[in-house]
Structure formats: structure tokens, C-alpha cells
Symmetry: C2
Subunit: 449 residues, 2 copies
């Protein structure tokens, strides 16, 4: 049932573009979903993709453009005239159109907007451009169906037919007063079952969740998830209905946030994909590796400071990768749980209790691992004092790493910084250095070298 | 606008439960959203939560129960009689009800289902229990609005009013033939604007995406995301309409999958939350730490094999944490990009090309880092041959780690294993050991100790 994009199909499209056979192309691509058209565009050169965008109907290409990677879309838009871009924008919902306009060079933004024939649509786009990308205003669309409380069901259906022209999916019908302030909502189901002469104010549901236009996008996502909302109306401080946010925007938002956290944990400093260029991938990866290198050089420096132990206790130096790995692993485990808990509003109770719990956990894990180290020492016939020293130092390292892993993301979050950076190489690297220092320092005290 | 759950509020609820003042409780909790009721239930002891569930209306508590953590819900259900559970199930959509029944002990499942008064609802639940949790059948609900192609718009509206009783949100109206095979869909908008006597077959949209009941849940999620679907009908091999999956189930599914990948990357072996018990957290964390410990002991063993170098080249041993960290970081970066690419269907081209690209990337990163190591050597006045040796060995380790990080998740994916495990401690640990071995082995060849 799903369209499968093959290599042969792309070649066929490319050949038809080469000989500029528009009719054959239209026939071939007829009935293909816009998301698949987007996949095809991504496989073509920018010039060929632009040819296709100009050739096909704008109701199809406008949707396909929105599915493209930002950089692919930018290349195609750069090859279109302001009038052609304006035609695409006319077919888009206002939220998508505003996103596209924001991506254009500033010089041509004004020109493109002036070329939009539907003045209301153009005004809506200009309004949406005002809002911050990370706010409810930045996510909302102006398209919605609203009715006045004083109308009858019959008048309402008449008016809705008119408004529904511009709205792809009717999620809810919003009920407003004479000043356009949001009063409640009307379900399509209720409208279907009510008598034609009934006044809206008699049948609407006065309880409706809404978000302020300045609310953070993240909070809107949490609210919609928590209350299972498929659409939420956006209002200003005076409760005037400005727009609505739909669940599909939130799905994309959730996916992007999850990807970002994951990449941060993996040590990738920007949004990259497997198919990006070597240069883009290097820019995302090298900075963290350099950070790790400096951390490693720090460890070299610390171990040089304990060099006097190398004759009598070389085994300590053989254990440093293990100590560093333990410090890193425990730190990441602790911070990952906290980061996820913060994202899901799941971290309750005081910081002190949380840290005490981590100490308890670290004690259990550290003692279990310490016993294994001592057993290993017995098996390979290692000096038992050395084994005990390693076990005790490792236990301390684990406790400290767990505390840092818990403390740092919570503090970052309270300071308004994304706690997810705490799971990345930054913490792992500091934990490495700090763990190695603590390990040698405690060993020196116990073994007295 | 959003309800804020305070400590004082919980105390008030607890006191009212203690004196069994049902009326005061109903008054206090009146008008509170089911998702907030769920939050309150999570804060109470199981006995108090059960009291509240029995007290409040089932249309509210059935929704609240679905929002609870699995373990909290289990404790409450264990305290309810089969009849009480059946009453909650009656209010739930069939997909939720089936999930709840599946969680019950097998002995009482049958008894609970027999106590459900609505026989059709009970039969639907029994049908849904047949399907695998990870399939479209496991996600779908039986509630939907369907009409026959031969009906008129007027008849359709009449029938819809009846069916809509059981359907919380009408996403789409599905059009079926006499054998219940899916033909297409009808938008509410079209229904609103059509003449009462028009036949459905004249106005329905014959193009409708659907999924097979046996399709993998992951593929359904991808399809709905790709085509921006808010609901998708589920059919059997004969195209007979069996149910529908809505976007809110997919939102939860996406969130869970992202959380799982993230936890796997952080070295947590099962779904845990910050507020789980110390015992649960230990079970999730200790196995990976033990794995890391064995890896570390492996490194100890390898370094002991190169012990003869310790007199002349102690610096090599100081560099091992750095080498291990580089191997680990590069490996995780490579595999994280692949894992995300695979999840987003973004990894195209052949395995060989992919590996060649990684070698190119590793060369760039490795040479840049190697230059830094040599500069560091110059600054601290280190033997230049040793610096060069370290730089070259590190470069080799980086290349190998990048290749392993790319190769392993792709191979796992082709074998049908979740590639996300490749980002976890398993690969990091193997990379550590392998990197340290390669580092000393190459150093030995170059320096000839």
C-alpha cells in the first residue's frame, strides 16, 4: 500500500526531466503522496528538483516542500522567483508559510509577502513572523473554525462551511464572544445532533484548555501530551483567540527534542544525519573529541604526578582505564535518569533526598563491584592490600561520579539551561579526570607511596 | 489554566479519605481533569488511591487509570473486585481496556470479561487480546464510525449519531462495502456540505491509507508520521476493516521508543524512572557496570602483557585513559548517527560506501587530534618519536572504533536486532579493550620495546 521509492524510478524521473517531458512526468507522479514526492525531490539535483516543483500543482508541491530537509528546501527556494514562492505559500497553512518565509533571505521576504494575492493570508503570515520560534505563537496556525455564542446551529453550519474551506482538518469548533475572546468549544458530534434553531450558547462546552501565545513550546507539548489534546487554541493575555496548535506539530517537536537529547548524550554538537557531508559531520563530532582529548591530557598530567608509584605499584596504572570507565558510566547513568525525569516532570522531592538516594545506590553498586575486584585479585594472586585499595578507591569514585551526575543536571535545569548537556562528553570527561585523581590520591593515602 | 498539584492539596485529600468524607472529596475533585486525578492517585498509598477510584465516577477514573504508571495501576486493580474492574473497562475504549485486561493475572481475566455487561464491548476486548503487543492489532481500537457506500447522506448522519455515541473523537468516517471491506473515507467537512439525498458512493474519497493488522507498530508509527495521519484504519488480509489507530497512541509510542533508545545509550537495561526504588534502579544499572568492570579487567590483563615497556615508556601507560576515551567517544558518535538514521529510514547507499565515508571522517578527526597530541608533546618537552607513536596509534584506534561503531548497528539491524544496543556500554567496553590493545601493539612495533 505504501509507495516504495526505487533507484529505477528516480532514474526514470531524471530522464523525463532531462528531455523536459512535462506531461509524462505529471502522469508518472499522478496519485503519489506529497511525502513521497518530497523523498523524490531529495534524491534529485537542486535544478531538477526545482524543475519538478515548477511543473507540478502547487497544492501538491507546497506540502512536499514542507516535508523536505531545511537545506534541500533552501536550495529549491533560491531557484524560485518571489511570485513562484508566493504561489506555494498561498497553498500552505499559515504556520508552515511563516516558517518558510522566516527561512528566506531578509531582502526578499517583503517582496514575497507582497506577491501573495490573498491579503488575509499574507497578514496572518506577517503576524506569525512576530512570535518566537520556541513559543506557542511560533507553533500555531491561524486556520481554525470559530463561531459566536449568539449564533444558531443553522447559522453556525452555514458559517462553518465558509471557514472550513481554508482549514484542512476541523478538530474543534471554538466558541467566542463579541470581542473574539475564547469561551469554549463545540464538538462536531454535538453540532450533528442538535436542532437547527438551537443557540450555540445553549450547547457549547464551556471547559476548554488553551495556552497563552507566549507559553514555551515545550510546555505546550507537555500539556497536549498530558491531556491527550489533538488541538489546543492559543489566546493572548485578554483571552482573545489567536490561533491553534495541532498534534502533528507536537509530534514533530517531540521527535526533534528526543533526537537532540540523544545526540547530546552521544557527543554530537549539532543536528546531523547519516547522509550529511563529511564536513558537516566533522563539525558536529570534532569539538567533543577535542574536549575528550584535553580531558585525556589532563589525566596524563595527573598520573605523571603520581609517577613515583610506578615501580612498586604498576598495577594501579593498569587499572586507570577501568576507573575512568566506571566514573564515566556511573555518571552517565545517574544523569540520564535525571534528564529524562526532568523532561517528563518526574523528579519530585528535595535535592538532598535525591542525592542521598544516589549515595545509597552508589554504595550498593560500588560494594558489589568492589567484591568482584577483590575476587579477581584472589584469582590472579594479587597483593590483597592492593586489591582492597583498588576496591575502596573505586567505591569512592563511583559515589562521587553518581553525585556529580545527579547534581549537575538538576542545577543546570534550575538555572534554565538544558540539562541534557550533562549526559554528554562534558561530564564524562570531567568524571574521568576527577575519578583518576581521586583513585590515585586515595591509593597514595592507603598504600603510603 | 493548568491545575497545579500541591503538597497541601494532597494532604487535604488524604485527610478526607481518612475520615471517609465522600461528599467533600467529590466536591473537591469535581472539575479536575482525569490526568490530574491520575497525578493525585500516584501520590496516595494504594489503599487510599483505591478508595478514591471506588468513590469517583467510572467515566473519570477509567481515564485516570490509563494515565497511571503500570505498577501503580496494578496495585489498585489488585484491590478491586472483578465487577469493579469490569465497570472501569466498560468506560474505556477497547484498546485501553484490552491493555488493562492483559495486565491482570490470567486466573481473573476470564472472570472480569464475563462481568462486562456490554457484550459487544467484551467481544471486542477478547478479539484485541489476540494480537501481538508490537503489532498494529495491538495498538488499534475497535471504536470507529463506518458507513456503507450505498447509504445516503441523511441515512449516514442518522447512523453516525448512533455510532458516535461510543467514539470519543470522530477522526474520519470510513466507507465500506457490503462485506465490510474498506473502500475509502468521508470527511466530516464533505458530509456537512453535501445534499441529504446524495449517495455516499458519489462523495467519498476512494484514496485512504490503511495498515495491515499484522504490521509492526514501529512501521505504523513511521507511516503516520510520514503522511501526517491523525488516524489510520486497520484491515485484515481481505481488506476487511477491523479497527483504527489514532495519533495519541502513536505519540506515546514514539516517546517510549525514544526513551528506550536513550536509556540504552546511557547504560540502563530496563525502563526505570528517577522515582523508582533503589532496588529497581540497581537492577537496571548494575549489569552494565559489571560488564564495564569485566572490560576494565580485560584492559588490566592487556597492559600487564606490555609491562616490559613500563621502565622506558611509562608515558604510554599515562595515555591509556585518553586512548580508551577516544575509542569509546568515536564509537558512540558513529553508532548514534547510524542508529538514528535507521530509526528515521535515513541510511541509504551501500555498506561499503558508508564505511568508506566513516574512514574519511575518522582520518580527518584523527589527524586533527594527532596534531594536538604532537603539539602537546612539544610544549611539555616529550620525546618526539613517542609523541608521533602515540599520534599514529591513536589515529588507528579512531579509525577502527569508527568502523566498528558503523558496522555493528547496521549488521544488528539487518539481523532484526534493535541497533540501539550498539550505542550502549557493550560497544564502548569492547572499543576500550580493543583500542588499548591496538595502541600498545602499534607502539611496540614503532618503538620496538
Amino acid at each position: 500500500m505504501q509507495f516504495q521509492l526505487t533507484h529505477e524510478f528516480i532514474e526514470q524521473v531524471e530522464q523525463l526531466i532531462a528531455i523536459q517531458d512535462g506531461n509524462a512526468l505529471r502522469g508518472l507522479l499522478h496519485d503519489i503522496h506529497f511525502a513521497d514526492i518530497a523523498d523524490i525531490l531529495e534524491e534529485l539535483s537542486s535544478d531538477k528538483a526545482t524543475y519538478l516543483v515548477k511543473l507540478l500543482e502547487t497544492d501538491l508541491t507546497s506540502e512536499a516542500l514542507m516535508e523536505l530537509d531545511d537545506d534541500v528546501r533552501e536550495k529549491i527556494l533560491n531557484r524560485l522567483s518571489p511570485v513562484e514562492i508566493a504561489k506555494e505559500l498561498e497553498e500552505m497553512d499559515t504556520d508552515d508559510a511563516a516558517d518558510v518565509v522566516a527561512e528566506l533571505d531578509e531582502e526578499i521576504q517583503q517582496e514575497v509577502i507582497e506577491k501573495i494575492e490573498d491579503e488575509e493570508h499574507a497578514a496572518d503570515i506577517v503576524e506569525l513572523l512576530k512570535y518566537d520560534e520556541g513559543s506557542a505563537g511560533g507553533l500555531m496556525a491561524k486556520e481554525l473554525v470559530k463561531v459566536k455564542e449568539t449564533w444558531t446551529v443553522a447559522g453556525c453550519v452555514r458559517e462553518m462551511r465558509r471557514q472550513a474551506e481554508n482549514v484542512t482538518r476541523v478538530h474543534s469548533i471554538y466558541v467566542v464572544d463579541m470581542e473574539d475572546a475564547l469561551l469554549g468549544r463545540l464538538s462536531l458530534k454535538d453540532l450533528l445532533t442538535a436542532d437547527a434553531k438551537t443557540k450555540i450558547q445553549e450547547i457549547y462546552i464551556p471547559k476548554v484548555d488553551s495556552v497563552n501565545v507566549n507559553a514555551a513550546a515545550e510546555d505546550v507539548a507537555k500539556l497536549m501530551q498530558k491531556y491527550d489534546l489533538e488541538a489546543v487554541p492559543v489566546v493572548d493575555n485578554k483571552k482573545v483567540l489567536l490561533g491553534r496548535i495541532t498534534i502533528d506539530d507536537i509530534v514533530d517537536f517531540i521527535k526533534e527534542e528526543a533526537d537532540k537529547d540523544y545526540q547530546m548524550a552521544a557527543g554530537l554538537s549539532q543536528d546531523v544525519e547519516a547522509d550529511d557531508s563529511v564536513w558537516e559531520l566533522t563539525r558536529a563530532r570534532l569539538p567533543w573529541l577535542v574536549l575528550g582529548l584535553f580531558g585525556g591530557l589532563g589525566s596524563v598530567y595527573i598520573m605523571q604526578g603520581f609517577e613515583e608509584a610506578i615501580d612498586n605499584y604498576p598495577i594501579l596504572f593498569f587499572f586507570t582505564p577501568l576507573i575512568a570507565a566506571m566514573a564515566g558510566n556511573v555518571g552517565v547513568q545517574s544523569s540520564a535518569i535525571i534528564v529524562q525525569g526532568l523532561a517528563n516532570d518526574n523528579v519530585k522531592g528535595s535535592l538532598v533526598n535525591r542525592l542521598l538516594k544516589e549515595v545509597g545506590l552508589a554504595l550498593i553498586n560500588g560494594i558489589a563491584l568492589g567484591v568482584l575486584v577483590i575476587l579477581f585479585g584472589l584469582i590472579v594472586g594479587q597483593d590483597q592490600l592492593v586489591s582492597l585499595t583498588i576496591a575502596i578507591s573505586m567505591l569512592s569514585v563511583i559515589i562521587v561520579a553518581a553525585l556529580i551526575g545527579t547534581f549537575v543536571p538538576i542545577v543546570l535545569d534550575r538555572k534554565g539551561i538544558d540539562p541534557a548537556i550533562a549526559t554528554g562528553p562534558f561530564i564524562t570527561t570531567s568524571n574521568d579526570i576527577f575519578g583518576i585523581f581521586l583513585f590515585f590520591y586515595l591509593s597514595k593515602i592507603i598504600l603510603g607511596f
